[in-house]
């Protein structure tokens, strides 16, 4: 578990920032390569107020990126969880679908970008599809594991209480697999978020997106805005993971 925010956690961060600022101030690190923390803070402020490209504020970049992740993520959950439960339950389905998935799984989501652009053009569908691919497999594999790790005696206990197949699905397999599904969702959201930024490097039609934003900043040599954008991406990833952990603790108190 992540330790709570306390002095001993903050001190190393402050030390790092101080050393970084010091090295920049004395001129050991050129600011066009790595801007100082103060410059990064100014870059962050510019991103918020002026936007990059100008007029395109950071807030909208964040919202567009979150929306793309959400669409891809929702699609992955809607398909991977039911398929995972079915595959966890039925050895026949596992043997049927498993080999196909094993061929597709090692292909990095980013390797799908060219074909995705061919299929969907540049836009939300392409980005969402790439996210979908990144998120789908962790959720699927964890769900299958979750179902298979349910003690068979629990299924038999349900049977002796006259459960039908449908009851077993709803009242044993799904609740029993929830912890593993959550693990998959947490791994998936991390991968999805990383994949998104890369997917946005290749272009976005609306002119919004965090990946697009930092690539634009690179085009005009704004290292401060690049680093500020990177930190924003990291912090959002951390927040999403934190939110999922919170949800996990609330929903799975029985563990």
């Amino acid at each position: 578990m992540r330790p709570p925010l306390k002095a001993s956690n903050i001190i190393p961060v402050i030390t790092l920032l101080a050393v970084w600022q010091g090295l920049c101030s004395v001129g050991l690190i050129p600011s066009y390569k790595l801007p100082s923390p103060i410059q990064v803070a100014r870059g962050f402020w510019d991103l918020l107020t002026l936007g990059m490209p100008p007029g395109h504020s950071l807030i909208y970049h964040i919202l567009y990126s979150l929306w793309r992740v959400f669409v891809g993520y929702a699609a992955a959950m809607a398909t991977a969880i039911p398929l995972g439960i079915a595959m966890g339950w039925s050895a026949r389905l596992r043997n049927l679908v498993g080999p196909i998935l094993e061929i597709l799984r090692p292909i990095p989501p980013l390797a799908w970008i060219p074909i995705a652009i061919l299929w969907f053009g540049i836009g939300i569908q392409s980005a969402a599809f790439i996210i979908f691919l990144g998120v789908f497999f962790p959720i699927l594999l964890n769900t299958i594991d979750g179902v298979r790790s349910i003690d068979p005696v629990l299924i038999e206990a349900a049977r002796t209480l006259n459960a039908t197949d449908r009851d077993v699905f709803q009242k044993v397999l799904i609740p029993g697999a929830v912890p593993a599904i959550f693990t998959g969702m947490r791994i998936g959201v991390g991968i999805g978020w990383m994949t998104l930024v890369a997917a946005e490097f290749t272009g976005v039609r609306q002119g919004y997106g965090l990946g697009y934003m930092i690539m634009t900043a690179r085009d005009i040599q704004r290292a401060d805005e690049i680093v500020a954008g990177m930190l924003v991406i990291g912090l959002i990833g951390l927040s999403i993971d934190g939110a999922l952990r919170f949800l996990e603790r609330r929903l799975i108190r029985w563990r």
């Binding site: 005696v153 629990l154 206990a157 349900a158 049977r159 002796t160 209480l161 009242k171 029993g176 029985w254």
Partner: protein, 250 residues
């Protein structure tokens, strides 16, 4: 409701490399309505398999199970089973474990909650109804498991070493609890145990099984009145006879 087991046998079928394994054969006995019959025998003799067949969880290789003289095929709603290691649903609280059967049967929420609450009270689980199984002691878990089975009002109750993993004091308490309960309800009970003392304390009849290949060595009647004295002369006599039989040359 009476339970008949007629020439029941179980063989694990082998394959090219392994020959068939005979678990047990020709098990025949009758549990009269409202009687308590225990099965004792060495571990690995197929006691659990026998119960699972009667519960409809696995098929027999031969023979029949009859309820009130009618042949049962597969799972029958009138037969309830209490599992060896509680088998509680860990994601459900105590009361929702007990409610599982009525919930599956489509009993409305208020009604099933009220019914489960009666079991919570009668089974001395007050204050723990909303606890998850991980927070319950072994004795409480087993009471929840018994309640979960009995709320379905099965006509025949099968119990598979229900007290096997409890410490001896808790075990004695639960045996007394079970006896009080049974004296009131008079269910037809088939109780598997490897503990001879337990069988003598609880049962009207005790079926003693042999080592593999398993068959019935003998069926004892225990006629001592209840509540029983664990150390009475009658109890000791039956206990010795069973232990001698189990230790014997078979």
């Amino acid at each position: 409701m009476s339970l008949d087991i007629s020439h029941l046998s179980k063989i694990h079928e082998g394959d090219a490399e392994q020959s068939d394994i005979r678990i047990f054969s020709d098990i025949t006995c009758r549990v009269e309505t409202g009687r308590f019959l225990s099965i004792v025998g060495p571990s690995g003799c197929g006691k659990t398999t026998l119960l699972r067949i009667i519960a409809g969880l696995e098929p027999a290789s031969g023979g029949q199970v009859l309820l009130d003289g009618e042949v049962v095929r597969g799972r029958d709603q009138r037969v309830g089973l209490v599992f060896q290691e509680y088998a509680l649903f860990p994601w459900r609280t105590a009361i929702r474990n007990i409610e599982m059967g009525p919930e599956i049967a489509g009993v409305p929420p208020d009604e099933r909650r009220a019914a489960a609450m009666q079991y919570i009270r009668a089974f001395d689980l007050n204050g723990f109804e909303h606890a998850y199984p991980k927070a319950l002691s072994g004795g409480m878990k087993q009471r929840v498991a018994i309640a979960r089975t009995l709320i379905m009002n099965p006509r025949v109750v099968l119990m598979d070493e229900p007290f096997g993993s409890l410490d001896s004091q808790t075990r004695n308490d639960l045996q007394n609890f079970l006896m009080t309960l049974w004296t009131r309800r008079k269910d037809t009970v088939l109780f598997v145990t490897h503990n001879v003392d337990e069988a003598v304390y609880l049962s009207d009849q005790i079926m003693v099984l042999s080592k593999k290949p398993t068959h019935i060595l003998k069926i004892f009647d225990v006629s001592a009145p209840r509540p029983r004295d664990r150390t009475s002369r009658e109890s000791n006599r039956v206990r010795k006879a069973i232990l001698d039989l189990l230790a014997g040359p078979s």
